[in-house]
């Protein structure tokens, strides 16, 4: 197993974090959060990968074939469900914020301070 997918996961995570910190648009910022989360998919799938392994659901293969780890795939699915819930809620908030503040810049959301 090469190091490459782990480096990709780390890179995606860092890019997502960079975007979150510097973003000046709510929707952009939320998508950066999605990017950050995508790094977890890459990491988990890389962890479960086996060279030459087939998908862990099969019926027409005889013997005991090599499969990739099914656990991480279940984790990624759960992770996606979590992401859908969080992202949709955040996007809903962004729409409302645009309506109330008249801006989608996080710097302009300044009702609370100190």
């Amino acid at each position: 197993m090469s190091l490459f997918p782990y480096l990709v996961a780390a890179w995606i995570a860092l890019v997502g974090l960079y975007g979150l910190v510097t973003s000046r648009h709510l929707v952009h910022q939320i998508l950066c959060l999605v990017v950050l989360q995508s790094s977890t998919y890459v990491l988990l799938l890389a962890v479960g990968f086996k060279t030459g392994g087939i998908a862990p659901y099969f019926s027409d293969v005889s013997g005991r074939p090599v499969t990739v780890d099914p656990v991480v795939q279940a984790l990624v699915l759960t992770d996606i469900v979590v992401e859908v819930a969080v992202t949709s809620l955040l996007l809903g908030l962004a729409v409302r914020a645009h309506r109330r503040f008249g801006s989608v810049d996080p710097e302009e959301l300044r009702q609370l301070r100190g």
Binding site: L36, Q37, R100, P106, L109, G114
Partner: protein
């Protein structure tokens, strides 16, 4: 009594019942949304039932950790193939506290909201299920899932008044920071799965227990930690908390401050003792790192709390300060330290919930949470005033409130493990926090001293606060005075329980007995002889605990009087305490989520660097 180690059918029920009722309420919302009282009754009955089940579980698990394998997938040859709930009495106790506070805030909401649609009740029940599941789970990926379940419910509840600016901003900052923390935790979980091939906490702990930790495990530990201490509001991960508290409806604040923050720290203890403890080693370096974080948090939170004029934000910063003290209790890695933190969490949870409910009653009647506007206007709210004052004294560690025991035990354990300065830190931060809240009690409810100068930052928000309640009622209804009264009485009663110390220390030993946890979960063994790293320490209430408790409360009273009357003292008239420093710090709490995330990244870098350096 059930033999330890056997399956307990109550374990899954405490999560399944609230989730099912929540789904049912949401599904039937068209039918029952007109019958507000039916909704209230069903929700209250559910949370009462969950509390009762958890109290039973707490008694049953005193003998040993209870385990439940979902779908009956028991471990084979010592390897977990299913998902489990594994709970000792400390976990069940914390979950029970959660359910009790949910009940209290449900009762409080009886007359609180003008219109509460079904989804308020559904969300509260999902929130309850998420928090209870987080306490009981024995699987590290499920820990993340429950973390997000309670997270999403909490974000939505924060934005309850979604038509207003404040709640939108508070909920957005809360959701973004906590989600970033959660995803970094998930990266850590992925790394730990890569190393051990396991997700069950006991099995990971056993796999990591052999051999050197290695850099991968340290990185995974730091990443998992980020999400938990973001939820636990540890400086510099704490910024979201004040924003979320300032805008969330008061019954929701009760849960945020009373248990949700504490759950983050419980997660740190759970993950440390079940997963990483044996593998990481270097206990003294771990102690030093968490002690530093805890002390910093306690002092920063207390300082900000004393500066605040916005009541909800003041209580929010006091929660941050106390979260630091809880972390200090855990950091000692002794049974007495953890027991002290547990007693502190119980006492603080009950007292802080009462304070928030009183603030809710004030907001309901007087339409403001600004200390300077409220000065002397709370005289008519007699019961609320008395309860608020008592709860404030409880926050300042006055015996017999359970908080003084927590402070005393944490201090005792620290002193006997070479950190005598912890007692001073606990006293200073409790005096500052208690002084701030007592100043409010004296000023608002009894009209003492001079009204504070109006805070320009609060002026624009003042008009918005009003719409949380219908207001204009002749007096505070019973459903708003009774819950805080009961909670304060409970905090005092628990502090008077005769064997509290030994019971809590036994529960703490259960958590810290790593080998025993592994044997119970994976081997189904009944562990009778708990063996933790540090031996038990005496838990008798000593004179010095009482003295420091009374001393702290007296100090807080003096500070409160000073805050109320300082302008009448000669020489102090022109003094504006720590003005320049404070203004600089206020600017840090900018309300912009990008800044909070910068601090989060900075914090990760600092903690990661410190641990990577010291855990080699």
């Amino acid at each position: 009594m059930r033999a330890p180690g056997t399956l307990d059918p109550l374990l899954p029920l405490v999560v399944v019942v609230p989730l099912l009722v929540a789904a049912l309420l949401a599904a039937l919302s068209a039918l029952i949304s007109q019958h507000r009282r039916v909704l209230d009754l069903v929700a209250i009955a559910t949370s009462v039932a969950v509390s009762a089940m958890l109290v039973v579980l707490m008694a049953r698990t005193a003998g040993g950790v209870a385990v439940y394998w979902f779908a009956g997938l028991h471990p084979r040859h010592g390897a977990a193939i299913g998902i489990d709930f594994a709970a000792g009495s400390l976990s069940c106790g914390l979950a029970a506290l959660t359910a009790v506070l949910v009940t209290a805030s449900m009762v409080f909401s009886w007359r609180y909201f003008e219109t509460a649609s079904t989804w308020f009740h559904s969300l509260m029940l999902v929130f309850l299920a998420g928090m209870v599941g987080f306490c009981l789970t024995g699987d590290i990926f499920d820990l993340f899932v429950w973390f997000e379940v309670m997270g999403v419910a909490a974000y939505a509840l924060t934005a309850f008044r979604v038509e207003e600016k404040g709640p939108l901003q508070g909920a957005y900052n809360f959701a973004i920071t906590n989600s970033v923390g959660a995803y970094l935790s998930l990266l850590g979980i992925g790394l730990i799965y890569a190393r051990t091939g396991a997700l069950n906490m006991a099995q990971i702990g056993r796999a990591l227990g052999h051999g050197r930790p290695g850099s991968l495990v340290v990185v995974a530990f730091v990443l998992v930690l980020v999400g938990l201490i973001t939820k636990g509001a540890i400086v510099p991960f704490h910024f979201w908390l004040a924003d979320a508290h300032a805008v969330a409806p008061t019954p929701v604040c009760v849960l945020f401050s009373g248990v949700m923050v504490e759950l983050g720290l419980y997660g740190v203890a759970r993950v440390y003792w079940s997963v990483f403890g044996a593998g990481l080693g270097h206990r003294s370096a771990i102690t030093a790192a968490f002690l530093a974080l805890g002390i910093l948090t306690a002092l920063v939170g207390a300082f900000f709390s004393y500066r605040q004029r916005h009541l909800k934000r003041m209580l929010a910063f006091s929660t941050i300060s106390h979260a630091g003290l809880f972390l200090v209790g855990f950091a000692l890695l002794t049974p007495l330290g953890l027991a002290g933190a547990a007693a502190y969490v119980i006492g603080h949870g009950l007292v802080k919930a009462a304070l928030f409910l009183c603030v809710g009653a004030v907001l309901h009647r007087l339409g403001s949470v600004d200390e300077s506007r409220l000065h002397g206007r709370g005289r008519a709210l007699k019961t609320t005033g008395v309860v608020f004052t008592l709860a404030a004294l409880g926050l300042a560690d006055l015996p017999p409130f359970a908080t003084y025991l927590g402070a005393g035990w944490v201090g005792d354990s620290a002193s006997s493990h070479g950190a005598p300065y912890v007692t001073a830190v606990v006293m200073i931060s409790s005096i500052l926090v208690g002084g701030a809240v007592l100043r409010v009690a004296g000023g608002v409810f009894y009209g003492l001293g001079d009204p504070p100068r109006e805070d320009p930052r609060l002026r624009q928000g003042a008009t918005e606060e009003r719409s949380e309640t219908s207001g204009d009622e002749a007096k505070v209804p019973l459903t708003m005075t009774l819950p805080p009264l009961v909670l304060v009485a409970a905090a005092a009663a628990i502090g008077l329980l005769p064997h509290l110390g030994s019971v809590l220390q036994h529960a703490a030993l259960q958590v810290e007995d790593e080998a025993g946890y592994v044997k119970t979960v994976l081997g189904g063994a009944a562990v009778h002889h708990l063996s933790a790293l540090s031996p038990k320490e005496p838990t008798a209430v000593r004179a010095i605990d009482l003295e420091s408790g009374f001393g702290t409360a007296a100090g807080a009273l003096l500070l409160a009087l000073g805050g109320l009357y300082y302008r009448r003292l000669p020489g102090l008239k022109r003094l504006r305490p720590a003005r320049v420093v404070a203004d600089t710090f206020d600017r840090l709490q900018s309300g912009v989520v990008n800044d909070y995330l910068t601090w989060l990244v900075f914090g990760v870098a600092c903690i990661g660097g410190a641990l990577a350096f010291s855990l080699r």
